[in-house]
Symmetry: C2
Subunit: 199 residues, 2 copies
Amino acid sequence: MYSIREKNKINKRKCILEAAMRLFSKKGYEQTSIEELAREAGIGKGTVYSYFQTKKDIVRAFCEDELDYVRQELAENANLDTPLVEQLMIIFMAEFRHVSKNKEFGRLYLQEKILPREHHSAEDLEVQEQYFKLLYPIYQRAQERKELRTDLELLHISGHFYGLYLLMVSCWYNGMIPTEEIPEAMETMIRQTLEGLKP
Amino acid sequence: MYSIREKNKINKRKCILEAAMRLFSKKGYEQTSIEELAREAGIGKGTVYSYFQTKKDIVRAFCEDELDYVRQELAENANLDTPLVEQLMIIFMAEFRHVSKNKEFGRLYLQEKILPREHHSAEDLEVQEQYFKLLYPIYQRAQERKELRTDLELLHISGHFYGLYLLMVSCWYNGMIPTEEIPEAMETMIRQTLEGLKP
DNA sequence: AAACAAAATCGACCGCAGTCATTTTTGTTT
DNA sequence: AAACAAAAATGACTGCGGTCGATTTTGTTT
């Protein structure tokens, strides 16, 4: 069980996150100062920093919470026996939808996630690899169904599709692909990756 | 011909960039203040901002200058008739070498390039598409040699390989792949993309 | 060479992210 | 309930990125 202290901490953390999202959404990330955010959350400025290390960390926490939720939902409703392309589309589009709905936060979050500052612990590495392994069961079943070659490492397969995701997100942020064309483009690219670029 | 004024401007810009790289390399980007940088370059703080809009822009300009140079060299020494995998490896490894030699700058540069802040002009979009078209001649020749399917759009082909590049860079920054294993991993992934992931 | 407009330079100033010594709150012991 | 130690909260303060109006330099015209 959580002590009263711990419950309050968890609760206040949520308050800060909610206040942050209200203000960031209304005025934008850059235009919201920590002091203002603290006022909105009904606490002092310094207190914010005992819950989050930096301003960006607040965004990161929000996105991670949200994505954890999205992924859990997906895991619960997953059907490992639908065709691979379909499964990948459901997963990537869910993640993309979250990013595109929160364009500014998504950018800050992905920037740090894709190209992180020098990381310290071996723990960070573990987290990252965990992310790559998330889809392993899907790939294994697809291999069993002969939808994927069995002579490839799962890590590599994960890599290919993650690379495509990075590509699509980057193209979207660069304005090369409008939101409504993303699904089609994504599916095309997945299919081509499966078929190969060679004649 | 450039006027005296223009020559001075170009020259002073170079001075600032050189001072910046000296300090950033020695003390790191965050630890170097603009005021210090101005002192090193022998000018006032405000002057720096009539050459560059933001601190990050200084890094960006440095990386772009450098990469332009790398790309020009590659273009001159290119042999469009060597096998596609080989050509791609030369190009991507050249870019990657630049990034990995300047880890901190490379990160800041790529963060902005991959996931840029809301862009304004249609010009930015043009620049980005230009980058994708850079390798078109290579792909076309590869198609003629039957190394690539001809029923695919060149933009998509470019996308596939650029996606792989993003993947490798991200894995490297996340500490998942050490520098010396990048070439092997890169080549493996390129080959798999060509062959396809389907049995 | 004097007068002058345009361009370039400058540094005092502003707002904000992040720190830290001090104060307040909380839970426990006597 | 008084005393006390640990945890949490606080806001004055620091340093830096970026701005802007004042000042100097430059090139041109008379």
